[in-house]
């Protein structure tokens, strides 16, 4: 598959990871000091080192690493040589090199420019999404795990893939501009529709009663689980047949969703007492059996050995050169295509290989290191 150069920051690094999942050759060009993705914790074995960042290990899997100093003329020369073999360059703004010069060097390039001018928390607040996240009345909170950057990365990936398809059909490259702010804003669309048509805002709804009157994350004996009792009469009856709560069953008015909504707190408080007695796996299995949507509220640690992810090959054993045998998340696209991702590259791991491929000699490599370009 064709070559893509990766000059992304965190807000677009998932895009280049996805291209590695579909089998593209992705070369991540880093400064010789290593970029900020390598410096983002948590760190594996709790050692804060450039090879140990969890984000680096996941997002850079399947990529190659080339370290060059783009401020040096020699570094730039290598970059342009590589660019001439590439179909796409995906980069966060500001570009380290002149845009016109890039397009002159490779006129049919797909050049994706990602505009991301604010810190993550500020971007989240400005987009409107912060107002939707958290519990009513309490401090609103950023979505964890930098997951908003996966969403923005997905938009970058889809738009770039579209331009690559056009390139293949017409032979023409083009510039693709993606705005991180707008990416996040689009994800407010339900709140937008509600506001535009009714004038009502959407607020944080927390984890209780967020879907139907009786729904939410309830405590179990070993963590939380999530259930949504259907809004129908039959759904409520199926649920009561299981729970057998004498107080709730005695109140016949609760067959009506509007009544349940009214008495939501009373119902939920009783259900919490009930569900605390059982382990979450048991509650979820029983609920699914009764066709009431339910799931565990999982931590990443639980997901790292989840039976569904193992069964589908999303999690597979990897013999990692640094961390030994481990369960590795291949990715959603890699799973359906059957791609096995290679471990993330060490800093500059592919320097020699790429230089040789571009026609540089071994002595050139030494000179580049000594002059500080590599």
């Amino acid at each position: 598959m064709s070559l893509i150069i990766d000059l992304t920051a965190h807000s677009a690094a998932y895009a280049t990871r996805l291209f590695a999942e579909t089998g593209h050759r992705v070369v991540r060009v880093e400064s010789p000091a290593g970029d900020s993705l390598r410096r983002t914790g948590p760190f594996l074995h709790n050692r804060p080192e450039l090879e140990n960042g969890a984000y680096h290990q996941f997002l850079n899997a399947g990529k190659e690493s080339l370290t060059i100093d783009l401020k040096t003329s020699s570094g730039q020369k290598i970059f342009y040589d590589l660019l001439k073999k590439s179909v796409a360059l995906i980069a966060n703004l500001p570009l380290p090199l002149d845009q016109k010069a890039l397009l002159d060097a490779q006129p049919n390039l797909v050049l994706t420019l990602v505009e991301d001018s604010e810190p993550e928390l500020c971007a989240f607040a400005r987009s409107g999404l912060l107002s939707l996240t958290g519990h009513p009345g309490e401090r609103p909170v950023l979505l964890g795990g930098h997951v908003i950057y996966s969403a923005t990365g997905l938009y970058v990936a889809a738009a770039t893939a579209a331009a690559l398809y056009v390139l293949q059909q017409t032979g023409q490259g083009q510039v693709v501009n993606v705005s991180v702010r707008q990416c996040l804003e689009t994800l407010n669309e339900q709140a937008m529709v509600t506001y535009a048509t009714t004038g009502k805002g959407t607020e944080r709804r927390g984890y209780r009663g967020a879907i139907t009157a009786v729904s939410g994350a309830f405590p179990s004996s070993d963590g939380y689980w999530m259930i949504s009792v259907p809004h129908t009469v039959e759904g409520w009856d199926r649920f009561m047949e299981w729970v057998q709560d004498p107080v709730l069953m005695a109140d016949k008015s609760l067959a009506d969703e509007a009544e349940r909504d009214e008495k939501r707190d009373l119902i939920i408080n009783r259900l919490e007492l009930w569900s605390k007695r059982f382990p979450k796996a048991e509650l979820v299995a029983e609920s699914q059996k009764r066709h009431i949507p339910a799931s565990p509220v999982a931590t990443a640690l639980e997901l790292a050995e989840d039976p569904q992810l193992l069964s589908r090959g999303f999690l597979t054993q990897m013999d990692h050169p640094r961390f030994g045998p481990m369960m590795f998340p291949q990715g959603a696209i890699a799973t359906v295509l059957g791609t096995r991702m290679k471990p993330a590259p060490t800093l500059g791991q592919h320097n020699a290989e790429i230089l040789a491929e571009l026609g540089y000699h071994e002595s050139d490599h030494r000179a580049l290191v000594e002059c500080g370009a590599m």
Binding site: A54, R126, G144, A158, L164, T198, A217, L309, V336
Partner: protein, 415 residues
Amino acid sequence: MSEKKSRLAVGSAGQAAPLAGIRVLDFSHILAGPFCTRLLADFGADVVKVETATRPDRTGVRKGPSDTGGRSDRPAPYLNTNRSKRSITINLKTEAGYHLAARLAQVADIIVENFSAGVMTRLKLDYERLRPLNPGLIYVSMSGYGHSGPRQDWTSMNMNLQAYTGLMMATGSENDPPIAISNSWNDYIGGLHACFGIFEALSERAKTGVGANLDLAQFECSVATFGALLVQSAVNRTVPPRMGNRSLQYAPQGVYRCAGDDQWCAISVQSDDQWRALISAMGQPAWAADPRYGTHLGRSRNHDELDASIESWTRQFEPAEVERRLKAAGVPAERMRRIREVVKGPDASQAFVPLEDPKGGSMLATGVPFRFSLSPVLPPAPAPALGEHIGEVLKGWLNLSDAEIERVDKEGALV
């Protein structure tokens, strides 16, 4: 974008939209699938939404009076999600309906469906059956958990997926209960993965002539967005820390309460210079002179105390005023905007665009957050009425005559 007058318009340099001429047969419903196919429509694909009177898209049919606005025949969320598509009705449970769907599948480039596992097989419209008829077909399934594995029959909904994919326990601080976002987060994440997968499959097909069967799972799409935390857990055997609004990279960073009811401002101090600017904007309060706050490390270690002090300042002002003062001083700050401010006002979002619907009047629709230098992205067109395009699609895709259309209708295919 705005200069485009019609769905068939081309770019200023004469380019066609990226997916011009690509046919999408869309069996998807609710949101994850329809979100994906709406993007395909924006890219210029001809998206034909297959609906039935017996199995309507739950977002698509009025069940009496509602406060969700929209058109007399369709609620507002449907209009936004299914804009720019065409609609046909097929009763897939009749023999004639099945044959008609199979013929459409034969001339389609892409099928998208997000039914529970097994539904398309029961309808005899699964990939294995259709592939011999159309080897170039790109068949995209996007059920909750995928078509294999022990959870394939689990019922899934957005909130359940927020719970199961790790989002709720990655968000918030240590010892907080699970925390959710009040939007259909997983539907968007699933839809975007599918859209990307489709483009890559189209490029591959152009080389090989062979289509693809993408059995995506919304669950896996969302878990993948937490991939780094899974890697951490797999190696360290610990639950990753919940960071709340903080970051080890920047301190102080938080969402601070301002004057007014439930009003907040986000602040992220990214350097010592910005810290000095923050102090200055706050009027050099005595507490800020504490030498412990002089370095990033000191601020990071004493974050709780620092937050309380900063908030004692932010609480005196409306959020817009906090933001104004801090931005003027060069400190990254943004007030928490609610949807009203995102949609309206002098610096309203560019992400939503006006759409004139002859049947429903002016509305706002979600646009796309990117632009191309050559390829046009199509402006949104109104959502279809149920079955609005039966004749048009059957003539255009299958070259059926009026008499033939009447015949399949009589056979019960088009209910």
